[in-house]
């Protein structure tokens, strides 16, 4: 099949991409490009427009306005042809409770017109890949959340997709299950699969993504590599101070000049500084007596909270 992408190498190319549901603007004119082999993350609080964007890339929901090209094709015209080369892990599992674990993969492979014997072989390989081979002939219902998620990922790989779309792949999983999923995704990336994911876990974004866009209120508010976002929107280190609850309001002005930015939260004070220890010393010099002091490297979470506001409640 001859593919002539509108953008030389981008697998997903969006300009002014917009999705409206009646009065609600879910995605408000966003631009991005996902390159081959990249792990690309949409980061943002609930309701930021991540899932709507994913559904448009997945050629399930049509853009209201703007340009979208996936694998060089137009989702409105070539939906089935594009979907044939995508793997989709939806936010909520859509596994077939009436079928066994391996039958879930085989039936799904049939939707891609994969011959039955190939489907059987691939189901076996994929179950090994996600470490579910022992459950091949079991019902789906009794599997744990992490196992169901891995089965969903295996199912999304049944057509050997060029792009894997994952909508919050590890939400609701326990730490072991999350790490196992991350490990598998990392391996897929090594094999050259392009990964597009949404998440509101900063560690997930930092671990997996080469490139991130931060979405808030239907728009992209920042983009770059995890490291460059931290460099741009945070400092090298963060000094966290805790004061007795009623003492915090009285700090007004007393911390000025110690750090590049000071953020006063209800439960703690964050000082963004290149040298956390030096800032801590300066705090002491001013005669302030915090209950606890922590110097840490800044993380994507600092960037995220800075960009999307402190109102985030998950």
């Amino acid at each position: 099949m001859a593919v002539t992408p509108s953008h030389p190498t981008a697998l997903v190319h969006a300009r002014g991409l917009t999705k409206r549901f009646k009065a609600l603007v879910a995605v408000d004119g966003i631009d991005f490009d996902v390159e081959r082999g990249q792990a690309f993350g949409f980061l943002g609080p609930n309701g930021a427009g991540k899932t709507s964007t994913m559904r448009m890339i997945g050629c399930v929901s049509s853009p209201t306005a703007g340009t979208l090209r996936v694998l060089g094709m137009d989702p409105i015209v070539d939906g089935p042809r594009i979907r044939a080369r995508l793997g989709v892990v939806p936010q909520l599992d859509t596994l077939d409770m009436e079928l066994h674990v391996d039958e879930n993969l085989i039936t799904y492979a049939r939707y891609f017109d994969i011959p039955r014997d190939v489907a059987r072989r691939r189901a076996q390989e994929l179950l090994e890949f996600v470490q579910l081979q022992e459950r091949a002939h079991d019902d789906v219902e009794p599997l744990s959340g992490g196992m169901k998620r891995r089965l969903t990922i295996a199912r999304a790989l049944v057509n050997e997709p060029e792009i894997l779309l994952l909508d919050e792949p590890t939400t609701g999983l326990d730490p072991q299950a999350r790490h196992l999923v991350w490990d598998r995704l990392y391996r897929l990336k090594q094999q050259g699969v392009t990964i597009v994911l949404t998440t509101h876990y900063m560690d997930e974004a930092e671990q997996l993504c080469d490139r991130l866009v931060v979405m808030d209120k239907a728009r992209i508010v920042a983009s770059g590599s995890p490291r460059s976002l931290i460099d741009q929107y945070a400092t090298r280190e963060v000094l966290e101070l805790r004061f007795p609850i009623d003492a915090t309001p009285a700090l007004d002005g007393k911390l000025d000049g110690i750090a590049q930015r000071v953020e006063i939260l209800p439960d703690r004070v964050l000082l963004y500084a290149e040298d956390g220890d030096a800032a801590a010393a300066a705090v002491h010099q001013r005669g302030l007596q915090p209950e606890s002091i922590l110097v840490r490297r800044s993380s994507l979470e600092d960037v995220f909270l800075h960009l999307t506001g402190r109102s985030l409640i998950e």
């Binding site: 549901f21 997945g58 399930v60 929901s61 049509s62 939906g79 089935p80 042809r81 979907r83 044939a84 995508l86 989709v88 939806p90 909520l92 599992d93 859509t94 596994l95 077939d96 409770m97 009436e98 079928l99 039958e103 039936t107 799904y108 049939r110 939707y111 891609f112 017109d113 199912r155 999304a156 057509n159």
Partner: protein
């Protein structure tokens, strides 16, 4: 439809068959048991009483011969109701099966086509099982009676496709029992299956003739008894109209629901 569309629609039916492989025994058992019970209790039991009474026959035939074909048509109405409510909302809402299917090359049209195709297969199985029971009970007297099977399948579509269209607009299952109580059960009891529609008050007769069931029952009965005049095929018009309207409506509601 192009070859690709046919193949992809068939994939959706294949999925049904995969699930049916696990449930067919119980489902078949019911398909045979239900007509056996009804024909034994009503056809033979009640029929024996009628045969002793002043009229002896209904519309010129034994009560069993009168009842059986109508009951066959009514069975496909009930199957349509059962198959197109809970199983469809489960795939839309509870298990999100369709969401999974639509992440593949399958389209909404393929999914809907597969559902309609499966409805036809499912209704044919029900009708054939019922027909076999009728043969055993001696309620069939001509070869033309085999035509009851497609008539019953069409009746199943006439009820099934509008039902499917309605289900696609629902987020909860709370209206399904209402439909059962106020549409399906009254039609089953009063729609010409157990006694001639002519015995109903005139307004009820008018309503009855606007439903597919009355026409399917009338045609099935004439075919079973073997006295169907050619113009009896006009009875097909109403069920056909319902089935076509249902398919068009389901096309709209499925698309609206699944491609947001």
């Amino acid at each position: 439809m192009t070859g690709v569309a046919v193949t992809r629609t068939w994939r959706v039916i294949e999925h049904h068959l995969m699930v049916y492989r696990r449930t067919w025994k119980g489902s078949m058992f019911v398909s045979f048991l239900s007509p056996i019970l009804f024909l034994a209790a009503m056809g033979i039991g009640l029929g024996t009483l009628i045969a002793r009474g002043p009229v002896r026959t209904v519309e010129g035939v034994s009560y069993l011969a009168f009842l059986a074909p109508g009951l066959l048509a009514a069975t496909t109405m009930q199957t349509a109701f059962v198959e197109e409510t809970y199983p469809i909302i489960a795939k839309m809402q509870w298990l999100r099966t369709y969401e999974g299917m639509l992440a593949t090359p399958l389209t909404v049209g393929n999914v809907l086509g597969g559902e309609i195709g499966w409805l036809v297969i499912r209704q044919a199985i029900t009708a054939i099982a019922f027909f076999a029971v009728m043969v055993v009970f001696g309620a069939i007297s001509s070869l033309a009676a085999l035509l009851i099977i497609p008539v019953a399948v069409l009746n199943g579509l006439a009820f099934g496709t509008p039902m499917m269209a309605f289900t696609a607009t629902q987020r909860k299952d709370k209206h399904f029992p209402t439909i059962g109580r106020f549409i399906i059960t009254p039609l089953f009891l009063l729609g010409g299956v157990f006694f001639p529609i002519a015995k109903l008050p005139v307004p009820a007769q008018v309503i009855a003739w606007f439903t597919p069931l009355a026409h399917s029952v009338a045609l099935a009965r004439q075919l079973a008894i073997g006295n169907a005049p050619a113009f009896a095929l006009a009875h097909l018009a109403v069920p056909l109209l319902y089935a076509i309207a249902g398919i068009v409506a389901a096309g709209i509601t499925f698309r609206r629901r699944l491609t947001l």
